[in-house]
Symmetry: D3
Subunit: 174 residues, 6 copies
């Protein structure tokens, strides 16, 4: 049976040795959703961006969060990211904010955690910006969409895994 990669045989935590791995182009994309109470929806609908847009603050926070990944996740390698992009999309009819983060690096280790951290921090920052309106927001569906590069190659979330609330079409952006 495959065991944990981050513990040795004595249960000690370890940072996986990547010294034997080749530097290749690594990419990862992750997404999450914020379920929006009515007041938050109204605020997003009614105020123009000139009055301040919490989605832009969330995107910037997500980018900075992705850069801090190895500081937050104890056994993550420090990765020098080539690009990070966080996109917030207000889905008015679903009363939902969708957040996606794409990250890439030329490295010996993948950037899945960077993409997941990017969407998580973006969602938390969005929550903070809007919590005076309603504290009932829920962050949901934080998951990896796909990753490529490295020995294990391409991984994509399976259509059949998708619950009804995360149905979406990412097209061929990556």
């Amino acid at each position: 049976m495959a065991g944990y990669s981050h513990f040795d045989d004595f249960g000690r935590p370890l940072m996986v040795d990547v010294s034997g791995k080749k530097h290749t182009r690594r990419k990862a994309a992750a997404e999450c959703f914020v379920k929006l109470p009515e007041k938050v929806c109204d605020a997003l609908k009614n105020r123009g961006v000139s009055k301040g847009d919490p989605m832009r603050v969330a995107e910037l926070s997500g980018i900075m969060g992705a850069k801090k990944t190895s500081d937050l996740i104890p056994l993550c390698h420090s990765v020098s990211l080539d690009s990070v992009r966080v996109v917030c999309e207000f889905r008015e009819h679903e009363r939902t904010l969708r957040i996606e983060c794409e990250a890439s690096a030329d490295d010996a280790t993948g950037v899945e955690m960077e993409a997941l951290t990017g969407v998580s921090v973006a969602a938390l920052a969005f929550y903070d910006m809007c919590k005076a309106l309603d504290k009932g927001m829920v962050i949901t569906g934080v998951r990896l969409l796909e990753k490529s590069g490295g020995r294990s190659g391409v991984w994509r979330v399976l259509k059949s895994d998708l619950g009804t609330d995360v149905e979406h079409d990412r097209g061929d952006r990556m």
Copy 2:
């Protein structure tokens, strides 16, 4: 209509001025869930803690994450936390990990963001520890359970808000 608290009238971001607020005992609790694929469930079931327990690493990461909240969330005040506690609970029959974080401080501002950041970072660290087994884990239901202290007093998540996947009984711990 109430507007955003973190923007001024010209759309500029601002850290809310708490100089007029009293220091009172602030508490907050948040939770989240990680949906576990079969391989991750099996690993949690079959290996004893002596071989390394990803839940313990996640809890420690969540505590450290809560302490970094003001570094991650741009407009959060720096709060000196009196206590942080992160609890991971493996719900084998639901194939789910439940994570709860309770934080408290004697401060002029609440600790909701600290509790939410605590569960989020714990979940991300857990994902990292187990992603070699299966990358299909999904973090869901990240939300505030309750908060107390400050002018706005006690806030509790409503029973009626709860979807079927987050049904639970917290008892009277707080």
Copy 3:
């Protein structure tokens, strides 16, 4: 002759002992200017904020920078800020961006360094956002405008100190 407060008699650096000082309301305001080459001025004039506004990113960066002051300045105390506010103002006719930062805290030590760090980091972030247009921007006039609170009371920059490029009227905002 008054000596340095941050060295002892043997030339050793020290963090000034504030244990005898009372916690009082401390405020400080600082400003700086960025001289803008033509291309940067044109970009600020011609693009609407919906296309992304480097001033908003600069303001957010300045707030975060102010929170990191004690991490950047070796002998600064860690201060829990009650408020931080950074305002960027495009002065088209002077081809200048003016940045002001106001910070406050209830503490035993002043927040001058927080205000100065706030404007400096905001200016650097603005430079970064616009450097693809022209690298010839110059950050100038970084200085304290006023501070209040503590034993030394109120300090204000003197009118007679002002060079022609920093002439301005702050009114009575503080």
Copy 4:
């Protein structure tokens, strides 16, 4: 018209993708000046370095500040610097401290922001060391002197750009 490189077409902030860029030797130099009130000048003149030298603390702070650039500037890539050097020079007759920072890296992105952050943090640390003597110091002329490496090649500040207070001869150090 050239637009901002750090926003996409929808005004979202982004970290520029450098995955297509070659790793080459990047260098940058920046400078700034601190205008010194009489008391600060006197302190620099009269006290020997054995009693503590704020210029040495400023230089060390500037080096550390340059290493923190990607943490301070939201859309900066994390760069592994090959060298950083900060030099403080007391120009007694001009009542001025000149600070220069040179940084280099073998990377896909330039190190201009690292050099500018280096001089800015050095100046702020110097201010902090001397502010008990006089808070009227002004940091001025923060700018890029030159950069080399990368697709855009060499950039040098133009002689004609220089105001009288920043006239200087850097020789051929770079």
Copy 5:
């Protein structure tokens, strides 16, 4: 038997709840020693401080390290230090560098870890400055000397605990 304070009954790590504790004046002092090979001793003897003094860099590093304690030690509370002082003393005849750190705060929790982190980081920075001369330096005797404040009151290291290499007289400085 007294158990660990940082684990609950299920082995989960926790940050001790200090919400019931009074804010009182807390002090702590720690020390350590660096055993110096001949080349390092010679360098300390022969070069004047005008040529750069690794002891001053170590002291500054130790102060900054003490401020980062809660970032380094997972279950430490974030403490706002009132003062930190690090003193390096070259004991030529013993071929030893002695480092002492005193820290104080008005807080609900002690500052022992801050003092211990201060001497440890100072020693590591000193090692780094001198390792090109000889990598054989050994850091030894890192320990708490005394602490005061809080419910447990004053604690002092016992004379009888002292080995011959740590014999010293601290006088009544604290």
Copy 6:
């Protein structure tokens, strides 16, 4: 006589320029010891790991500490570590905890400071976990065991350097 590598001829601190150095595989190992008072020994003996194991927390802290080295040591380069491993070993008969850290990277600069920082932070975290039992623990024998890679090649601590309290056999693990 060889001088300090981290100061220039005028006593200014500098980060050594590694731009001329080749990237090669760098390794380093360091160790330290914590002398354990009786109560701490008893706790380690009598409580099973299911009740929480301070050694596991120390190991995790050491790994995270090693990643923060360039943030703690002012003139250290930022190194992207390929692996870090911290091992705590309870030597009951010697009433001692031995900690060893091995780090590796493919870089132009060595990782000695990372290994030394790893053991130091692990020891401090262990102290913190056990200090409620007895504050009399002493961290001792912090030193480099060996390093390899780079122009200066392999360095190993000499047998003859070893004092009686640090006698040990590392075998051929590296």
